[in-house]
């Protein structure tokens, strides 16, 4: 590896450049589109010479879409809020349920614990519609269809296994002696859980939470099946928006940018944990 010929260095450089261009260009280009009016977008040949404008973002935020024909009401902010609310609430619930369960699975090998853990894991890889379609019929009977509660419940299908399996690994890494020492010092199991296990597994819990958030945010199929317009997150909302707004390409681009920005930012922030999280703890980054 030490002896690289000039040719090899150049080839490597070119390959690297191609990789970066292929993977970055779409994001870059959509971002540029979001700063343009339809006029400059539709120019032939396309050019990166234009007067940047925030009018697309303004339109999305005010909810007034000015088309040549008429003023259209859109509610993209509503979608954005739904995404935030659904993701945050789902992750919060998954943490609340999943962390104690992960602790129980890590510390007590009891009858059925592995069965539960593996059922959750194996359905993580099952077709979501298989569970979703019958569930949508049940939800209609139970009055949970098109409710935040129903959606948050369904989001547990992705959030819970993730948190359970990652956090469990972190709990298992804590020596039981450390917890015994705290118990023997006179503290209840609950305060041991709170003062010893939780802080020591803290980084893992944070990482799992962040990843669960990203997966929840990026989810498309759950809300497509279960939510109507006013409960839809950005992933479904953006698709509907395209149909509704027709040819307002600048605004579509701006909507996409606003929809992907939060997860990209979080991913950069948490990149240290992503490898481990994405592989459910199978690979350390």
């Amino acid at each position: 590896m030490e002896y690289q010929s000039k040719l090899e260095t150049v080839l490597r450089g070119i390959a690297l450049l191609l990789v970066v261009v292929f993977f970055m260009f779409p994001i870059f280009w959509i971002f540029l589109m979001s700063l343009q009016t339809n006029e400059t977008i539709l120019r032939v040949p396309p050019s990166i010479n234009f007067e940047p404008t925030l009018s697309n973002y303004r339109a999305l935020i005010t909810g007034k879409l000015e088309t040549s024909a008429a003023s259209l009401e859109i509610n993209f902010l509503r979608n954005l809020w739904n995404s935030v609310f659904l993701s945050v609430a789902s992750v919060a619930l998954a943490l609340l349920l999943g962390v104690p369960a992960a602790y129980a699975f890590a510390r007590h090998k009891f009858k059925g614990s592995e069965d539960i853990a593996f059922t959750l894991l194996s359905f993580r890889f099952a077709p979501p519609l298989l569970v979703l379609l019958p569930l949508s019929l049940y939800f209609q009977k139970m009055g949970l269809a098109d409710t935040y509660l129903g959606l948050i419940w369904v989001y547990q299908l992705i959030c819970l296994p993730l948190i359970l399996w990652i956090v469990r690994g972190y709990f298992e890494d804590i020596s039981p002696d450390i917890e015994y020492a705290y118990r023997v010092a006179g503290h209840s199991w609950f305060s041991t859980f709170r003062k010893i296990a939780l802080p020591l597994a803290g980084p893992g819990i944070a990482a799992a939470g962040l990843l669960a958030f990203i997966f929840a945010w990026n989810n498309f199929i759950f809300a497509l099946v279960l939510a109507s317009a006013d409960k839809q997150p950005v992933t479904v909302g953006a698709l509907a928006f395209i149909t509704a707004s027709g040819i307002q390409y600048g605004q579509i681009a701006a909507a996409i940018v606003m929809s992907i920005a939060p997860t990209l930012a979080l991913a950069l922030y948490a990149q240290k944990y992503l490898v481990e999280g994405l592989s459910l703890g199978a690979v350390k980054g």
């Binding site: 990789v19 779409p26 959750l120 990026n218 990209l264 350390k284």
Partner: protein, 307 residues
Amino acid sequence: MPVPSSVPKRRGKRLVSRRVLPYMLSLPALLVCIGILVPFITAIYYSLQRFRLSQPWAREMNWGQNYVRFMTDSDFWNTLLVSLEYAFLTVGLELVLGLGIALLLQKRTKLNNAVSIMLLMPLMTAPALAALMWKLMTNPGFGILNYFLTLVGIDDFRWGASPSSALFTVVLVDIWVYTPFIMILLLAGLRSLPTQPFEAAALDGVPRTQQFFRITLPMLTPYILTAALFRLLESIQQFDIIYAMTQGGPGDTLMVFQVEAYLNFFQSTNVGRSSALLLILWAITFFISNIFIKNWLRLRERARGEA
């Protein structure tokens, strides 16, 4: 000892037995499990019925008929074929590309680390939104990619709108989103390999291409296998990209399992057929996931041993 000992003489008995506590803690997880298993069993039940939402009066058990009918159903075979084509095309290409990029970025330099972090961005983009992004770039009116193609003399490339290029288009989006996944897994694997075999090989003057095939590849195999199976599991049930891009069209070009099942359920309201389709898909994924989980557990043990 001067600190007065304050051991209570009446010792507190535990309220909850130690045997019960773990069950209580995992009760919510158990509930979610039940929440999964009940619809799953319901789906099996539906799949054995003639059941259209639009014709509730005609609902009846028809046992295996939904499945038997698949044998002579060309739509079903098309679905199976397209799903497999999509899965193997994407996973194969992503594996080659991901491994190539991982090798390119293997050395821990600032530039390489920056690039590998950059590559996380497509992976963190919601696949449905990624499809929309590519839709905008391949728009026949103003798509930048169409413009690039005209520069090399291809004038009328219709991307997702044409049956001949639709599969290519969605595979391209899938590659854009998921190659980084394989890349970061293999990169982590590559960087965790022990250095001694490579040093020994370098001392013995083994050529680099041979080093790759005789040392790197065999040692990387568990990672490659895990990444490939993981992706295969997701790819064979891909929905977001295809649905957002073409809704399974044009015609039935991209009618993969989940898209077909979704449309069966919501457009033709054929719950029975939809459920049967999904169960066949489930059987395929169950088979793959069993192999995957075994591999994954082994890797997980190893990763935790290193920590």
